[in-house]
Amino acid sequence: MKRFLQQRNLGIFAVVVALFAVFSAIEPLFATAANVERILRGIGILFVLAIGQMMVVATRNIDLSIGSTLGMSAMALAIVAKDHPSTPLVVLILIALAVGTLAGVLNGVLVAIAEVPAIIATLGTLAVYRGLVFTISDSGTVEAQFIPRAVKRLAITPTRNISWLVITGLIVAVIAWLVTQRTLTGRRLFAVGSNPDAARARGLPVTGITIGVFAAMGALAGLAGVLYVGQYGTVNASSVGIGFELTAITAVVVGGTNIFGGSGSVVGTILGCLVIGLLDNGLKVLRVDSFWQQAAEGAIILVAVVADTLIRRRQELRRALSRRSGVAWTPAS
C-alpha cells in the first residue's frame, strides 16, 4: 500500500480525503454506497482516457484529439450495430478498438516521424477526426434503440454494486501500473520524456516508443468509446466525447504528472480522476447553484495544483539539499 501511495501522491490523496470528508459532513447522502458507485461510474470513461494521457504526457507529448477519437470509435461501433444488428459484441468492440488504434497510430506518425509538435498535430486531428465523426454518421444520431443490449449491459450495475465500467477502468489501471512500474518499456517511457535527445543517443527506439504510446492512447480512447456507447446509449456526432480531452488532461495534471514529461504515476492519475469525480458529483449533490459550479471546480483544481507544486518543490529542495550535488531533474520553468 505504501508503494502505491508514494510520497508525492500524498498531497493529492489528502485532497481526495478532504473533499470526501467535507462533502459527507455537509450532506450525509453523499457518502451512501449508491452515490459512491455513481461517482465511480461517472469517472469510468475518464479513468481510461486519463491513464492513456498520463503515459503520453510522460513522453513529453500530449494528445488533444482523444475526445474526437473516442467519438469516431463510438460512432463506428454504433453505425455497424445499426446497419448490421446481428454483429457479435466482440466484433463491435474490436471495431472500436481498431478505429481508435488507427487514429492513435496516425497521431504517433505525425509526431514521431513527421516531427510535427504533438500539441499542433493533435490539435489538427482533433478537428479532422471530429469531421470524420460527422461524415461517417451523415451528421446524425444513432438512437439507443439500435444499440445492442450486450453493449448497454456494460454500464448496467450487475451484482455487488460494481459495474463493468468501473471494472474495466480498474483493469486498465492495473495493467498500466504494471507496465509503467515493472517493465523496461515503462522505464523507457519516462526516459524518453525526461530527455529525448539523451534517450536517442543512448540507443533507445524513441520513434517506436512515441508511436507506440500514441497507439496505446488511441486504443484506450477506442475502449472509452465502447464504454461511452454502453453508458449513454445515444451517440450524437456533435456531442460524443466533446471536451473529454480537457478533463483527461486536468485529471493528469491534478494527479501530479509533470506536463513537461519524464514523470507520471498511475496512482496519482487515479487520484486526479477521483478529485474530478468527487467535485462534479459533490457540488451537484450539495445543490450548489449551477452558475457557481464551474467556477468552484476551476478554483478548487487550481488550488490543488498550486498546493501540489509548492509541496513538491519543497520536497525536491530538501532532497537536493540532502544530496548536495544531486540534481535528479529540474522542473522546467
Binding site: 461517472g42 460527422f134 451537484k284 449551477s290
Partner: protein
C-alpha cells in the same frame, strides 16, 4: 448509405484541397510551381461537388443583390437556406424534410447548412454567407434570441425574407416566427405528463437544457406558476437542473438528483436531447420504475426506453409540420400573399394557420407517446 459516401467524397476533396494549399508552403520556387499544377487539377472536381447548388442561384440572386425588391420574378426557383441549431441534432431533420417535401410544388430549393455545435454566435457565418449568395429566404432555428439578430437585420435590409422556425427570438431579427405548438399551453401539457406518470402525487425535478435556453426557461416558469396556482396540489417541484443538452452533463445531473432526493417520484425533461440521456441513466439504474421519466423528445430516440419500461409516457409534436408550414409561409411572404401582420393564411393539406399579434404562427398540436402508439411514429 449513399449519403455516407457522398459526404466522404466531398470530405476527401476538401482535404486534398487543404493539402494542395499547404504544399505551397515550401520555401523555394520548385515547390510553388508543383502546387500550382495540383491546384488546377483539384479545382474542377471541387466545383462539380459543391457548386451545383450555387449555379442555380445566379439568376435570382442578381435580382436580389440589386436591392430593389424582394420579389423574385415568377419562373425562377426560390433559393431558401435553412440553418438549424446544429447539423447533428436529429430533431431538426424532420423540419428540413417538411420544407423539402413542399419545395417542389412551390418552385423552391431548400439547402440546409449550419454549425457543428449549438454555440450562440456560430450561426452568424452561415447567415453572412447566405446574404452574400443573395438567397431569397433564410429560415433559422436560432440558438439564442439575441446573438443572431444583427446579422438577420442585415439580411432583411438586403431584401431577404427571414423567418424563425421552432423557437422565437427578438422580433427585430425576423418577420414571422413559426412555433411548433401553442407554447402557452406547454406548462399544462408538461404537468399533465407528470401527473400521468406519477399518479398526481409526489416530488419531481426538472432537467432542462441550458440556463440560457429561452423556451425552456419560459416553460419552467409556467410550470412553477401553475403549481403555485394549485393546479396539481400534490405534486412538488423540488429542483431544476441543467443538462446543457449534453449526454455526459445530463447523466451526471440525473445521478446527483437520484442521490439528493431519495423520495423522488419523477424527472421531467422538456428537452429533446436531455430526455433520452435521463432515460438512459434510469434504464441502467436500480431505481428504474421507481423514478418515472417524462418530458419532450423524438419518438425514435425513446423507443428502447418505452420498450424496457423505463418510460411510460412522454410527449412532443411532429416537427415536420413546422417545415411544411414554413415552406408555404416563405412562398407567401415572397409573392406578397402573406404579410408579416396579424391575419391568417392557408396551408394546403393542413388548413388555415393564424398569424397572431406577436407575428407568430402555431404549426401543430401536442402528441403523447406511450407503449401503445409509439411504433406508429417514425421521426
Amino acid at each position: 448509405m449513399s449519403g455516407h459516401w457522398k459526404r466522404l467524397g466531398r470530405f476527401t476533396i476538401v482535404a486534398t484541397l487543404a493539402l494542395a494549399a499547404a504544399s505551397c508552403s515550401s520555401d523555394d520556387d520548385k515547390g510553388a510551381t508543383t502546387t500550382a499544377s495540383s491546384t488546377t487539377t483539384a479545382a474542377p472536381s471541387e466545383s462539380t461537388s459543391a457548386a451545383s447548388t450555387v449555379d442555380t442561384t445566379v439568376a435570382s440572386s442578381t435580382a436580389a443583390s440589386t436591392d430593389t425588391t424582394a420579389d423574385a420574378p415568377s419562373g425562377e426557383t426560390l433559393q431558401v437556406v435553412y440553418i438549424p441549431k446544429d447539423t447533428s441534432n436529429a430533431y431538426f431533420n424532420p423540419i428540413l424534410e417538411g420544407m423539402q417535401q413542399e419545395a417542389a410544388g412551390l418552385n423552391m430549393e431548400v439547402t440546409e447548412v449550419g454549425p457543428a455545435s449549438a454555440e450562440a454566435s456560430s450561426q452568424i457565418e452561415f447567415i453572412d454567407a447566405a446574404i452574400q449568395q443573395g438567397v431569397d429566404a433564410i429560415a433559422i432555428s436560432p440558438n439564442d434570441p439575441e446573438t443572431v439578430v444583427p446579422s438577420l437585420k442585415r439580411a432583411m435590409e438586403a431584401g431577404i425574407t427571414v423567418i424563425a422556425v421552432n423557437s422565437d427570438m427578438n422580433p427585430e431579427g425576423r418577420q414571422i416566427a413559426i412555433l411548433p405548438v401553442d407554447f402557452s399551453k406547454m406548462s399544462d401539457f408538461l404537468l399533465k405528463l407528470t401527473t400521468d406518470v406519477t399518479g398526481g402525487a409526489g416530488d419531481f425535478a426538472i432537467l432542462s437544457a441550458t440556463v440560457n435556453a429561452p423556451d425552456q426557461s419560459a416553460w419552467i416558469d409556467g410550470v412553477n406558476e401553475a403549481l403555485d396556482a394549485g393546479k396539481a396540489p400534490d405534486l412538488k417541484l423540488v429542483d431544476t437542473v441543467f443538462g446543457d443538452d449534453d449526454a455526459d452533463k445530463s447523466a451526471s445531473e440525473t445521478e446527483a438528483l437520484l442521490t439528493s432526493y431519495p423520495d423522488l417520484k419523477a424527472i421531467l425533461a422538456p428537452t429533446a436531447a436531455g430526455l433520452p440521456a435521463v432515460a438512459q441513466v434510469l434504464s441502467n439504474s436500480s431505481q428504474k420504475g421507481k423514478v418515472q421519466v417524462t418530458g419532450l423528445a423524438l419518438p425514435n430516440s425513446m423507443k428502447s426506453f418505452v420498450e424496457d419500461g423505463t418510460v411510460k409516457e412522454f410527449g412532443l409534436w411532429d416537427p415536420k409540420t413546422e417545415g411544411v408550414v414554413a415552406a408555404h409561409l416563405i412562398a407567401g411572404l415572397i409573392d406578397g400573399s402573406i404579410t408579416a401582420k396579424a391575419g391568417s393564411f392557408d396551408v394546403p393539406g393542413l388548413g388555415s394557420r393564424e398569424i397572431n399579434a406577436d407575428t407568430q404562427v402555431i404549426a401543430d398540436e401536442f402528441l403523447v407517446f406511450d407503449a401503445d402508439n409509439i411504433a406508429d411514429f417514425d421521426f
